[in-house]
Amino acid sequence: MTTLLTARGVSRRYADLFVLEPCDLELRAGEAVALAGPNGAGKTTLLSILAGALDPTTGRVESSGRIGWAPQRPALYGKLTARENVELFARLEGVPPLPTDLPDRPAATLSVGQRQRLNLALAFLGSPRLLLLDEPTASLDPVRRQELWERLDGLCAGGGAVCFVTQDLEEVRRADRVGRVEDGRLAFR
């Protein structure tokens, strides 16, 4: 299977505290990988490093192709509308914007669920082969959750991959592999 992303010896340290011990990870085409673990274990830190949003203290990340990323806290401009957010980030990425059915009003005035949908919409910009999603179904209603999983299944079936952070056991079962992060250490079962 094609490897879409390889992380070797990546770690993150804040002052003297290791929030993520050196770890290795490969994400291959067609697979869904879940990262689970208690709060503060280092899951979000690991995903942010994989996404390139955070520099690792040690190690390196290599990837091929476009990577979509949805952080745990929606990263949006609150004064811009949903459409304007999508258009701006699409232009910054140099990809065509995707249509959105979200209300055309400032993102700050959207509901928590709508903001999360916008957050996910930005991850899908440019049709990435690999998606890195931090608790993607948080705040989504059951219908939207189902739609998201169907879309992720389609991505994996088409040769893409997804790595997601979750606390939900039901969602863990959807993964091909589960990485357990605890006290900054990653271990696959």
Partner: protein, 442 residues
């Protein structure tokens, strides 16, 4: 730079959608500029000086035949200070506590000396120590000068009367004693009645020449009293509030606050919204973010600055103020505004990068801008060290640029020099902000 331009347009859109913030950003620096103007006016307000009258001045004093109303004369000459009449002990107490900045004492015998015209009467001045004492001393010197000017005319008139007495003859009065003077003209008449002779001719010639010479004493005496006379023209210039200097201060102050706060808050807001992490995934680097915020600050500085220039210009033109508004200098002024805005924007971006969140960034920007502005307002002659520190910040350079653009006959030299300073500072602060973003957010 395409990405920086996209972020710049986004920032303009965000700013347009924040009318309250926009109003505060525009009004706050204007209010600060007004307050600084008020403080500057207060600094030139009249200091409080006690007048201790140990001689018990009468309501009127006659000197050289001219009568002075004491209160009216004091009011007329004491325009630079507020004179308050106090008893000696109370005045001493207030001087020690600082309620008054100086004590002007009229000692016993003052009026007698004044009336005698034979000895200069004395006033005694005591001042507090510190920054105001020099200024108060100068103002009291000015007060005494004004009093002297008033008295000098009386003295000249009195002296001329004595000279007239010498020429015409008659009854005079000196130190309360009356005396009779023959006078040159009456002496000449008496000489004419005497039998002629060479000795009489010599005396007659002396009397004639002396009469002619003393007759010309009037102008000579007035000229001696005023070797140089200052003639004050009618006040046709513009008031300080409308002067080019006031415009320069208003522009520099408002631009400093606006550009620094805007850039600092705008950069920190990227982090507040969580977008910074998304951008740094190759969408926009620290350099592009800093460039966008600096451009935003520069654009806001140009817009607000030109607004102020237009407002000043409209008032000046409508009021028909002499000199008018230097409209031809507006393009040069716009360049200065852009450079000053960029320099302050770079500094603001640095503060925003270091402060981490918009609230802290705004607070730090306000805390930083006040000393920067006040340092820039300290004259170099008063505190050279403060001026040297101020050179490391954009305010003083912006002020000099605007002053040159509005004032100078040939502003190019100063504009190039201060513009180069502003450009250099903008590049320096932007580079520092970029490094701070890269290091702190890695």
């Amino acid at each position: 730079m395409r990405r920086a331009a996209l972020l710049f347009r986004k920032d303009l859109r965000v700013l347009r959608r924040s009318p309250f913030l926009l109003a505060v950003l525009l009004l706050y620096p204007l209010v600060i500029a007004g307050l600084v103007g008020l403080v500057a006016s207060y600094a030139s307000a009249k200091p409080r000086v006690a007048l201790v009258d140990d001689d018990i001045l009468p309501a009127q004093i006659t000197v050289g035949g001219r009568t002075f109303h004491v209160e009216r004369t004091i009011d007329r000459v004491a325009q630079e200070v507020t004179l308050v009449r106090l008893e000696g002990e109370e005045a001493e107490r207030q001087l020690r506590s600082g309620r008054i900045v100086a004590l002007l004492r009229v000692p016993r015998g003052f009026v007698a000396d004044l009336r005698s015209m034979a000895r200069s009467p004395r006033l005694e001045l005591e001042t507090t120590r510190g920054g105001l004492s020099v200024r108060v001393t100068q103002q009291v010197q000015s007060l005494v000068y004004q009093l002297n000017r008033q008295l000098e005319d009386a003295y000249v008139e009195a002296n001329l009367e004595y000279i007239n007495l010498l020429v015409e003859g008659g009854t005079g009065n000196f130190l309360g004693r009356e005396f009779d003077v023959l006078g040159l003209k009456r002496a000449e008449a008496l000489l004419d009645e005497l039998p002629p002779g060479p000795r009489l001719d010599r005396i007659s010639e002396f009397v004639r020449v002396a009469s002619a010479a003393l007759g010309a004493t009037d102008d000579a005496l007035r000229a001696t009293a005023n070797p140089i006379e200052l003639v004050e023209a009618d006040d046709e210039g513009r008031t300080w509030a409308l002067s080019a200097q006031a415009q320069s201060y208003a522009l520099a102050l408002t631009i400093s606050f606006l550009a620094l706060l805007l850039a600092a808050a705008a950069l920190a807001a990227e982090r507040d919204e969580g977008v910074f992490a998304r951008l740094r995934r190759g969408l926009a680097g620290p350099g592009e973010l800093v460039a966008a915020k600096t451009a935003l600050a520069a654009a806001a500085a140009v817009a607000l600055g030109l607004g102020i220039v237009l407002a000043f210009g409209a008032i000046i033109e409508l009021g028909g103020v002499e000199g008018g508004q230097p409209w031809s200098r507006v393009p040069l002024l716009a360049l200065g505004l852009a450079l000053a805005g960029a320099a302050f924007g770079g500094l603001g971006a640095l503060l925003g990068a270091l402060a981490r969140d918009a609230r802290t960034a705004s607070l730090v920007a306000i805390l930083a801008v006040l000393p920067i502005v006040f340092l820039g307002l300290v004259p170099r002659e008063v505190a050279p060290a403060a001026a040297s520190v101020s050179d490391a910040f954009p305010f003083a350079h912006a002020l000099r640029f605007f002053t040159a653009a509005l004032f100078d006959l040939d502003p190019l030299g100063a504009a190039v020099r201060e513009g180069a300073w502003l450009l250099g500072l903008a590049l320096l602060f932007c580079t520092a902000a970029r490094l701070a973003l890269r290091r702190l957010d890695a």
